[in-house]
Symmetry: C2
Subunit: 372 residues, 2 copies
């Protein structure tokens, strides 16, 4: 199969420098900037694939660490890959498990060859290497795979951050050598902690390796938001302009806008789905806690001008009732809304960029201070 992955940079906003483009993948085109709902365990929680299409999801994320542990990448491969297993015919991106190994699992040993860790589920021992992770991601068969990286904890000192970054670079080379699937793009991941010069060094080193796209890892790990924004600003001039830039694990509404302002093309975040299951709505008027007593007799829709199934049909009073009663339907409806809210925001973002008014667009929303 010919390599079908290309990134077309369509337009750079004259007002803001933000960019829009199109990613071509084996499972279709993705307009960027894009938000990717997270489907950790081969399901975006509480959503059927048809619900996802209904809210306008175009690419979703799968978590390699979770899928490796359960049901196992070999089973997914036997099913014909992740697309067939979970019946999602649009693009998928899998992370490398790097972040999860360093945040969820219990690390036993970080070696040059790889990482020895214990499963957060049953304590069983596992060893991830760049080569084994490539094998797993190729079995899963997403359209985009990520290199296995080491995500240093926050805060980390300069010495350790350099060690982790340099290991990440060596692992990126090994991932590139081990990766053979021609219908899957492999992205490198920029690290470097909260050190500007290291971020630049990492961006340059990875740019030289000529990946078809780049993840920005190790941000939104506990640092203040302004530090994350500064890091993005620092490294962005050294990220290849003609390659997609993916800010990993970041996607609250304010971060989406701030990220796009700084040249980011792709985002993913569990906030939308997790908040949805917990009765928290993202809206253009800020966050709403649906269980709040003030919604008991509120028969207006969650968000007046939202076009999602939830807002077109149900009242705040009904949603409150569902969450008070712990009814599954509450999680379903609010997840739909939160995803639609974020995907619609990105539709508006792309329109504003293409019309050279994204600077105003973002400023107006951010100044309201309701998207934090």
């Amino acid at each position: 199969m010919a390599y079908p992955f290309t990134f077309e940079l369509k337009h750079v906003c004259q007002q803001s420098g933000a960019r829009c483009g199109v990613l071509h993948t084996p499972h279709g085109e993705i307009e960027t900037p894009i938000f990717m709902p997270v489907g950790t365990q081969a399901t975006v929680k509480a959503m059927t694939p048809r619900d996802l299409i209904d809210v306008g999801a175009n690419i979703i994320l799968g978590n390699t660490y979770h899928l490796y542990l359960r049901p196992g990448h070999k089973l997914v491969e036997e099913a014909g890959g992740l697309h067939k297993f979970m019946r999602w015919d649009r693009p998928i991106l899998t992370d490398s498990g790097g972040f999860q190994v360093f945040s969820l699992a219990k690390i036993n040993d970080i070696q040059e060859d790889g990482v020895l860790f214990r499963s957060h589920i049953d304590g069983s021992k596992h060893f991830f290497t760049p080569e084994s992770v490539m094998e797993i991601e190729q079995s899963l068969g997403a359209d985009i795979a990520m290199c296995f990286d080491e995500c240093a904890p926050y805060p980390s000192d300069r010495k350790y951050t350099i060690e982790a970054m340099e290991r990440t670079h060596r692992w990126a080379e090994r991932c590139k050598s081990a990766h053979t699937r021609e219908d899957q793009a492999l992205f490198g991941i920029v690290q470097g902690g909260m050190f500007e010069d290291l971020r630049i060094q990492s961006a340059k080193t990875l740019a030289d390796m000529d990946f078809p796209g780049y993840g920005i890892g190790g941000l939104s790990v506990g640092e203040p938001k302004h530090v994350m924004y500064e890091m993005l600003e620092t490294m962005m001039p050294y990220m290849p302009e003609r390659k997609p830039r993916y800010l990993m694990g970041v996607g609250s509404p304010d971060c989406l806008l701030e990220g796009v302002l700084r040249g980011v093309d792709m985002f993913d975040c569990v906030l939308q789905t997790r908040a949805g299951r917990n009765g928290m709505a993202l809206t253009r008027h800020g966050r709403m806690t649906l269980k709040n007593a003030k919604y008991e007799h509120d028969f207006s829709p969650l968000e007046e001008d939202c076009d999602c199934y939830c807002c077109r049909n149900f009242s705040r009073a009904y949603l409150r009732h569902l969450f008070k009663e712990k009814e599954i339907l509450g999680a379903q409806l609010l997840t739909m809304h939160n995803l639609r809210f974020s995907l619609r925001l990105m539709e508006d973002v792309r329109r504003a960029i293409s019309e050279d008014r994204f600077g105003d667009f973002a400023r107006e929303l951010l100044e309201q201070g309701i998207y934090d």
Copy 2:
């Protein structure tokens, strides 16, 4: 508003005596025999209204006891009634809370006037009378309301069963007097425990009250199935032929067939939705426990010839994965399937009746012994 509730008896199967008909309600027509999914707390668990339409649900049930406690019938009334509150535009039937008061709540006192009970949620004290239940059901505004009855526990002695039955008859008279909504049909409920002569007496007494339809209460409360079938056979000649007959709280596949064979027109049951949430599938090959290890590598659909969204898209291996991981999507998909399975069975039942071959149809399925 003119009274829009009528029951048309369309055909009696020459082979079996089973009947099919059409119920006309303010929210549309219902072909009988029908299975009604249960929407206890203003939601059929894990189903959106559009999912329910997709599986072919035509009438659903709401539980008066639960809705009275939470969110409260006054809130539902304020929302414009149960249809509007939960966004279900097709017919609804509400039970009277009688069964729940006697099974879920802690009874403090059964008086001639009504029942004093404590909520199963917070232990708060409440008093249900025929008049208060009519007020609640009229606030909810279903197309069909049920009389407040006393469901005697199983087993009960003859003396107590007579007391409860006679009280149920007096309460039925009071419900009829208190019920004023012209766009809502009020059904009487036949009781009489497991005593054939009392069942006949109850059927006759209620027939004389000329309700537009009749519930058959107090069955499937712990007695052997053959006793339930005998009770149905005994009382059915005394149930008005031109009125719908609703066997309350019964709906496993074998009971649907056995009930229809004995002249029942309407059924409801939580089995389909509860089993769906717990990983149990109802199929034409019997029940399946999806978590079973034998499905781990089974990439065939749940049921080869089922037309539901779950069976058209997903494999047993995927469903097993979802249930192993306690993913909400498992509950959604399997509830869809179990409802579709039962609703499709009833479609086949109606077709078989109209073609005078329901005796063969039911016998063939029941002889397989897989529907118990």
